[in-house]
Symmetry: C2
Subunit: 387 residues, 2 copies
């Protein structure tokens, strides 16, 4: 096996762990392109270590520094700006790892999908926003879309090779986040520091807050709806604080198939890089005895309204509600991290936006980006006024 | 879907539960043949309910009663004797359910395999004894062999569609049986009544004793070795008293895939009857919350020597050790059930036979049956002398 790989979002958590796995398999993978948002120092370091053909930094201000630092490596082409990231996504590779956080990943990911190869996908916001537009492109170009997200990667594995007509439901597991046992009153006073202290997974700030609100799981329900073409009623969520069982499928005959493993993103990343072969991971190994004393319980949709609101979002036929749900969350989380709003205000604001906003028809990427910009503005305004 | 089914061993536990599942899917399945050992009353009842083309009873003495009871149903052909059971196995069907207990199933199962259709397989003793002779026939005739045994059915499901070169190991779960926490001293005095009181599965007497000695799990290790072409080192056993997780596969990338479900044989039976489609079961449903507080621990090979001896059996290249292991166990269990020997004498006798016996080369069914007969005689003699 010898595969070329581009990583869009190489300096984030998933990007770094992807390179960690690839470093263990030097003979199997060649890096074509690496892109980053603004972390130029790490991108320079990665470029020197992995010698890609192309590196791009979205932040144009950081471009001169990148150019200079790699001046002694003329085999590496260097570029800056959002267009450079799209350019990186257009380069021919066997696998594109799409790990840009947020809606910023939308255009590059769509370009990667159009090449019809394999896209390993860690950018759930993009799929939530683009939904069937993205899945239609995947079908049209014959792209293999592999989910990196541990829950969807688990579901992908337990559906693969089995009769989907006989699938009763899938079950996504949720750790429950750091506030799993907190009262609403206590959550109202939660600080950003408390919210980002995730009990089982080591992740970025935004996704850690999403885990605390269970918004992360709500977005994953939408993601699963598109990825596996399942109606809302066939997607269940269960609280499982140990994050050992990542996902399950229940079939008509009573069989549950589950994927389990350490809470280590390198496992699903390795699955995607090797697929359909199974290759060694640089990540942790699970001891079977770790399966002892696991806990599973029903989620509380009163304390965690995200899991109630997502059903409302999926009941809407168009993409507008999902875009609104996702973008309003991005703005609200940013405001919470800046201490402008409280923890419970995140979902309160999202719910208000969801109920009060006009939902336009969405059929192109441009529609998505325009509606996204509009929500950002309205939501920022609302938050500013409330503060 | 419309499939014809024959059941060899229709009146045993697996046979009855197979008919229970089929009764729920009257439009999907037609019964071709039903066979029984000696339970003529139940066979008559089944024949009247399911209207097969052919019924056979192995016990010739029971044949007149069977013939008479079905005299008013001329569309059902009736026969008696071991040859009649083989005749039933030779009739053309889409699926043969091979559920005869013990080495008695060997010849009929091999006939069913030769027809090159699907054989759903619940007769582990046969596979243990015939090993590669059976698997060679499966390959030669292009037969689909589906394991009904819940553990192997689980492993079959978690390997299906995945890269077997990247399989690290499989893990068979064992309930640990009723004596899981008993000391050797206490086990020495265990009665047949205590041994057959299985904590999670409802099964026949012989297999219940095998669960108490963990001989059942040892035979399953040999079965897995043949079914999945895996070396002993890639087959692990873990004690899991709740019998919810039936089997697991660990892949190179750190993923564990597990099959889980209620301790209800109708689940794996339904999997086999529907495969590769998933059809509704008449069996129990599992609640995800049932996964809470499961226990897993390493087996104790001192108190349960079967799991130590099976490694010795698999280290021998030929089939003789496996035949000996299995047949000596059948004789010893029968002696224990008649209170001729104690519970711990079962394994003591097997170990002695395993160490002291000459192991002839085995290459035909006749070799198997001859060696089986020889072990039965020696073992019976040994037990009689010791008593």
């Amino acid at each position: 096996m010898s595969r070329s790989v581009s990583i869009l979002g190489a300096t984030g958590s998933v990007g770094r762990q992807t390179l960690d796995v690839i470093a263990q398999h030097a003979s199997k993978f060649q890096i074509v392109a690496l892109t980053a948002g603004s972390n130029v120092d790490m991108l320079i370091q990665q470029a020197r270590a992995f010698k890609p053909k192309f590196v791009a930094i979205a932040d144009e201000a950081a471009y001169p520094r990148l150019k200079e630092a790699l001046a002694d490596m003329p085999a590496i082409a260097v570029a800056g700006g959002a267009k450079a990231v799209v350019e990186a996504a257009c380069l021919d590779t066997d696998i594109t790892v799409a790990a840009i956080v947020g809606v910023a990943g939308l255009v590059p990911v769509m370009e990667a999908i159009k090449r019809g190869k394999t896209v390993a996908f860690a950018n759930k916001e993009t799929l939530v926003a683009a939904g069937n537009i993205m899945m239609d492109a995947v079908a049209k170009y014959g792209t293999t879309l592999l989910p990196i997200d541990s829950e969807h990667n688990a579901i992908f594995q337990v559906l693969h090779g089995h009769d989907l007509k006989g699938l009763r439901r899938i079950v996504l597991t949720a750790s429950g986040g750091p506030f799993r046992e907190w009262s609403t009153e206590r959550m109202k006073k939660a600080t950003p520091e408390q919210a980002v202290a995730h009990p089982t997974w080591s992740m970025g700030q935004k996704i850690s807050v999403d885990s605390a609100t269970l918004m992360n799981k709500a977005l994953e329900v939408i993601e699963a709806h598109h990825l596996f073409a399942l109606p809302s009623a066939k997607i269940d969520v269960v609280i499982h604080p140990q994050s050992v069982v990542h996902g399950m499928a229940e079939y008509a005959d009573g069989s549950f198939l589950a994927q389990m493993g350490p809470a280590d993103m390198r496992t699903p990343i390795t699955v995607c890089l090797g697929w359909p072969e199974r290759i060694d991971t640089s990540g942790a190994r699970m001891d079977v005895m770790a399966l002892s004393k696991l806990e599973f319980s029903a989620p509380d949709t009163v304390r965690f309204p995200a899991l109630r609101l997502v059903r409302q979002v999926l009941a809407d036929a168009g993409l507008a509600s999902a875009i609104l749900f996702n973008t309003a969350n991005e703005v609200a989380v940013a405001a919470f991290l800046k201490r402008t709003i409280g923890f419970c205000d995140i979902l309160d604001n999202i719910e208000r936006m969801l109920n009060d906003s006009h939902k336009p028809a969405i059929s192109t990427l441009e529609d998505i980006l325009n509606f996204d910009a509009q929500i950002r503005e309205t939501m920022s305004e609302t938050i500013k006024n409330a503060a």
